[in-house]
Amino acid sequence: MTLLSIENISVRYGKLTALRRASITVNEGETLFVTGPNGAGKSTLLKAIAGVVTPREGFIRFNGAHIAGKAPEDIARMGFSMVPEGREVFGGLTIEENLRLGTGMRADKDQAARDLEQVYAVFPMLKDRKDAQAGVLSGGQQQMLVIGRALMASPKLIAIDEPSLGLAPKVTDDVYATLLKLRDSRGLTLLIVEQSATRAGLTGGRMVLMRAGQVALEGDARQLVKGDALRQAYFGYGDH
């Protein structure tokens, strides 16, 4: 069942076009990798879904509702949780405060408290330092924190921008292992922007390759990584 469908959206920054009539769908319960070279419009795609940038044209439907042009907080409240590029922890807040921020939209306070314990169970390191300021955490720890924070909102879909950026491979492995575990245990849908197609191939799931603001290729991640089509699409069809 389709959870998120993006139809022909275009986004421009001034004179620069970041997305041209891009269309993507995400099905419930699946893992979708979005990959592509720098400037392909991957991050813009996530920002458009999150409501941080407004598309000039096209539709975005999430969980049956049109969300293009809505405020970020409203989209978040519909069950879309975003982990942006660069992690964006609130450095001045404590770790627990960062986590609690994610629960603002929830009415089920008891469940939220249980979720907190669950997040701590998944990331015991966070519990140990729950009263420390988030700004002092290392990159990998911050990544754990923002994923945990996104989970606290009890979302239907988590979108993660470059979870491996700036992390050691070992740490990245951990992060992915955790994500998959959560997907299976919570019935989450994952939308992951990942520059490294290899990583997508390792993890498995569906993959979309973007180039110059458009979807250039789509298919099963493991299959695509093996073939030549990906490399061709990644670098363009011989025009470089």
Binding site: A50, G51, V52, A71, P72, E73, A76, R77, S81, M82, P84, E88, F90, G91, G92, L93, E97, R100, L101, G102, G104, M105, Q133, G135, V136, R149, A153
Partner: protein, 304 residues
């Protein structure tokens, strides 16, 4: 000893006024990077709200006649209301504008409020007697201290504690701190941006009202420019404290108030008229010494 105690008290009471003003400015700056030059005019507006509009020389006290337990909440509401209204009508449309544009817009708003008051009440300062028994002095260890000073200092401390508790312990406080640090990310976590900003404006407006109430009790005068001086010092204090840092703003407010009182007490008579020149000279030195303010560190920007 008595003299030192006295000077300490004088410095604290002036400093707490500045601190309250700085808090109101820092709060808004933290959440939306706006230096609100209309803050001083909010202070005047709140005080004028106690009077019936008239251009006669003698003040017609209107709301000011209400019993204290009604008057204080009313004036606080006036401050909050005016502040929120200016957010809705003006500042909301400047969310993405550059700081200079916002600054000038806030200045223009202050200009409008000031001239509105001028039209309604005329420029002649009005007098109002509010809780004047609070100004009768009591002696403590030989220092003479009016209850009002004690109340001012206590109010500042209480407001500080309450604000800290609000920011630390409540959901809205958490969201406000988050919004102050990273507005977009906070929204992506479902923090209701408009609500949080309006709340910050409401709090800031109440702080303006509190300053207005203390000032009018102390001076007995209602004047369209009464907030201007405090606003300026508060603005400077906010920057010296480290923009966006609430404790920094408060401490810098006390610092400037203290410095000013000390200079008044210890400068030779000929140099005393130059007091403010020395104070601002010290401000320049402080800025060159710590351009990012006294309480701002790059790693973890602490906000209360």
């Amino acid at each position: 000893m008595t003299a030192i105690l006295q000077i300490l008290f004088d410095a604290l009471s002036l400093g707490s006024l500045y601190a309250l003003g700085a808090l109101g400015i820092a709060l808004i700056f933290g959440v939306m990077r706006l230096v609100n030059f209309a803050h001083g005019d909010y202070i005047a507006f709140c005080v004028f709200a106690m009077l019936w509009p008239s251009i006669d020389a003698a003040a017609i006290v209107f709301a000011g006649n209400l019993p204290t337990y009604l008057l204080i909440p009313l004036i606080l509401c006036v401050g909050a209301g005016l502040s929120v209204l200016s957010e809705i009508l003006v500042f909301r449309r400047f969310r993405n504008a550059n700081p200079a544009t916002m600054m000038i817009a806030s200045f223009a708003l202050g200009f409008v409020i000031k001239y509105l008051l001028l039209m309604l009440y005329s420029s002649r300062p009005k007098s109002i007697d509010l809780w004047s028994n609070l100004s009768q002095q009591i002696e403590i260890f030989g220092a003479r201290i009016p209850p009002l000073q004690v109340i001012t200092i206590c109010t500042t401390i209480v407001i500080l504690l309450a604000l800290t508790a609000f920011l630390k312990r409540t959901r809205y406080g958490l969201e406000m701190r988050a919004a102050a640090e990273n507005f977009t990310m906070a929204r992506m976590l479902g923090v209701r941006a408009n609500l949080v900003i309006m709340l910050a404006f409401a709090l800031s407006g109440m702080l303006a009202a509190a300053v207005g109430l203390i000032l009018v009790t102390q001076t007995g005068t209602v004047d369209i420019n009464m907030g201007a001086n405090i606003m300026l010092v508060a603005f400077v204090a906010t920057v010296i404290g480290g923009l966006g840092s609430l404790p920094g703003a408060v401490i810098a407010g006390f610092l400037i108030g203290g410095l000013s009182s000390l200079m008044q007490a210890y400068l030779p008579a000929d140099a005393r008229p130059f007091r403010d020149a020395f104070v601002y000279g010290a401000v320049i030195v402080m800025l060159i010494w710590r351009p990012n303010g006294l309480f701002s560190s790059k790693a973890a920007k602490q906000r209360v």
